[in-house]
């Protein structure tokens, strides 16, 4: 069970499938069934979005207006909580990268047999219900001997755990796409030191892969609710919940905006991604 956002494994799978190109294995003639299926699919996906959008425009009685959007974005609490969550997200991303990238690299290069174990660990957040995990963490670390509850360390740790599968999957996919051993040993044999190997050979090739993991972690932290609210740190998730129970229309407006922003970001990532994959392919 994931966090409140029910971060489905779509995102996780999205990362897996990212580096596959679009080779078509034989186009058939115009297939009417394909069109029918596609259109049915689009209706199913877009009707709910449209209804939400329509609702978000209905704040003023009997007329369509962007009042909900105006109210939502002009609330100073919105920006404050948004800012806090952005900060948590950045810290989580950095800590997560520092934790995962060296580990994944190390496993790929030195201990490939450990990969299944590490992969299992990163799948654990899928298997353990988030509610239970968060409560477990609070009970374990809320009192001496290890008192972590007064600082955001526990919050960040929780976020890292939640985003672990995605970040690891992203980095792992990236490392698999580049031949780590060959690159490392080639660089070593050319006399490169470790700093150069890491920062000028490995990381540039991982940039795109890491980008998708970063993006998903960001989305997770911004949308996460349970942990932030239980630990009583200011964050965007609890804020949205609160607004939802007080001012209808505004959360719907916000979710429409966030949907659009996410779509645009993924679109941009796809474009960047296509370019970088070609670069790596060319290097060989």
């Amino acid at each position: 069970m994931r966090s409140e956002t029910d971060r489905s494994l779509s995102a996780w799978a999205f990362l897996k499938g990212k580096n596959s190109g679009s080779k078509t294995s034989g186009r058939r003639g115009l297939n009417i069934w394909a069109w029918i299926i596609f259109i049915i699919g689009m209706i199913y996906f877009f009707l709910p979005l449209f209804s939400t959008f329509l609702f978000s425009l209905s704040m003023k009685k009997d007329q369509l207006s962007f009042e909900a959007y105006r109210l939502g974005f002009s609330d100073p609490d919105f920006w404050q909580n948004f800012g806090f969550s952005v900060m948590w997200a950045i810290i989580t991303i950095i800590a997560s990268l520092l934790l995962i990238v060296p580990t994944a690299y190390w496993v790929h290069w030195r201990m490939p047999r450990l990969r299944p174990v590490v992969e299992f660990v990163t799948l654990m957040p899928f298997v353990v219900p988030a509610v239970v995990l968060t409560f477990g963490l609070i009970r374990l670390y809320g009192s001496p001997p290890i008192l972590l509850i007064g600082s955001p360390i526990l919050l960040i740790a929780g976020y890292i755990v939640l985003s672990l599968p995605y970040m690891f999957r992203a980095v792992d996919t990236g490392l698999r796409a580049i031949d780590v051993r060959t690159l490392t040993e080639a660089a070593l044999s050319l006399g490169a030191g470790w700093r150069i190997i890491l920062f000028q050979v490995i990381f540039p090739n991982l940039r795109v892969a890491i980008l998708s993991g970063v993006f998903l972690t960001f989305a997770i932290v911004m949308g996460e609710f349970t942990f932030a609210s239980l630990l009583a740190w200011p964050a965007f998730g609890p804020y949205i919940e609160l607004i939802g129970s007080q001012k209808p229309y505004v959360p719907q407006a916000l979710s429409v905006v966030s949907f659009l922003l996410t779509w645009i970001s993924i679109g941009i990532m796809q474009r960047i991604g296509r370019g970088a994959v070609q670069e790596v392919a060319g290097a060989h």
Partner: protein
């Protein structure tokens, strides 16, 4: 230490090999931070779940929580409902998701639609929980857009006719919103992996399209199909936010029950909540295991 024939380099000198044990320990250092983190923040809480499921509210050891899993009708029904809805959305999601993936990859649709569907599928994963539940309420709920439209076109009152989406069927429809994209995202690359040569070879041997699918493509795709279906199953089973936002505790699901026991204002038996979680972990682990095993089998063909 006995001297055994060793590899030599060109000089003919026997290179000094580092004793195996020492090299082993330094490699472990590289993964130590990760495992330390995992132990502190994943294993220990999970173990505490395990331990607490054997505790009463007062903290004494008991089997009553585990026994309750199999005897309390409420809990059995929760598992039944959760399993039912997971099965429905896994099968339904796999079928239609596969068809969607097929449509954009092999169906002769314009190429840009593939990218469109794939990026959209990536976004659809962000749209779950409260916004998703509300989106469907606003569409096919009692006062939803579609409901109102139908009512005005046919001049009927659907509410009076007993129309309601707040049941397993309705929730399944909502779940499909993240099941379909998941299937699409995994099947699209898999369909890519069907090499053109195989189709041509089949045709060369005189086979029709049906033969191709029956004897070549489906057998190759089957592990991925099944594996992803299992993944969808686990995905639906573990869903909490969407279900709760949709109908609160009124539809009896395991995840909802866990929430009520651990967080509730009125029910409050963390031992039972943890026991429920344990049961869920078992089911989720099995589904993850099934998925991983089948993925490896499928990977053989996708090289």
């Amino acid at each position: 230490m006995t001297v055994v024939a060793k590899k030599t380099n060109n000089d003919g000198n026997v290179p000094l090999e580092r004793p195996k044990t020492r090299k082993f320990s330094w490699d472990w250092l590289g993964v130590a931070p990760f495992f330390l983190f995992a132990t502190l923040f994943l294993f220990l809480p999970s173990i505490s779940i395990f331990i607490r499921s054997f505790q009463t509210r007062a903290g004494e050891f008991t089997f009553e929580n585990i026994i309750a899993l199999f005897t309390v009708s409420d809990i059995i029904n929760a598992y039944k409902t959760s399993l039912t809805i997971s099965l429905i959305t896994a099968v339904g999601g796999a079928l239609f998701g596969f068809m969607l993936a097929y449509a954009v990859v092999l169906g002769g649709l314009p190429g840009f639609l593939r990218a469109f569907l794939l990026t959209f599928s990536g976004v659809a994963s962000n749209f779950a929980g409260v916004p998703l539940a509300f989106a469907f309420v606003a569409t096919i709920g009692n006062a939803g857009l579609v409901t109102r439209t139908i009512e005005s076109i046919f001049d009927i009152n659907l509410r009076q006719m007993g129309w309601s989406i707040y049941n397993i069927t309705g929730l399944s429809i909502v779940y499909m919103y993240f099941q379909f994209p998941l299937m699409v995202l995994i099947m699209a690359p898999a369909l890519d992996g069907l090499r053109r040569e195989w189709k041509e070879a089949s045709e060369n041997l005189g086979g029709t399209s049906w033969h191709y699918w029956r004897y070549v493509a489906l057998p190759i795709l089957l592990p991925t199909l099944l594996g992803t279906a299992i993944l969808l199953f686990g995905n639906a089973f573990g869903a909490y936010a969407t279900a709760y936002a949709f109908s609160g505790s009124f539809i009896n699901l395991v995840t909802i029950l866990i929430g009520a026991q651990i967080q509730g204002d009125v029910l409050y038996n963390p031992g039972l909540g943890n026991a429920l979680a344990l049961g869920m972990i078992v089911i989720m682990s099995l589904s993850m295991l099934g998925y991983t095993v089948l993925q490896r089998r499928a990977a053989r063909w996708m090289r």
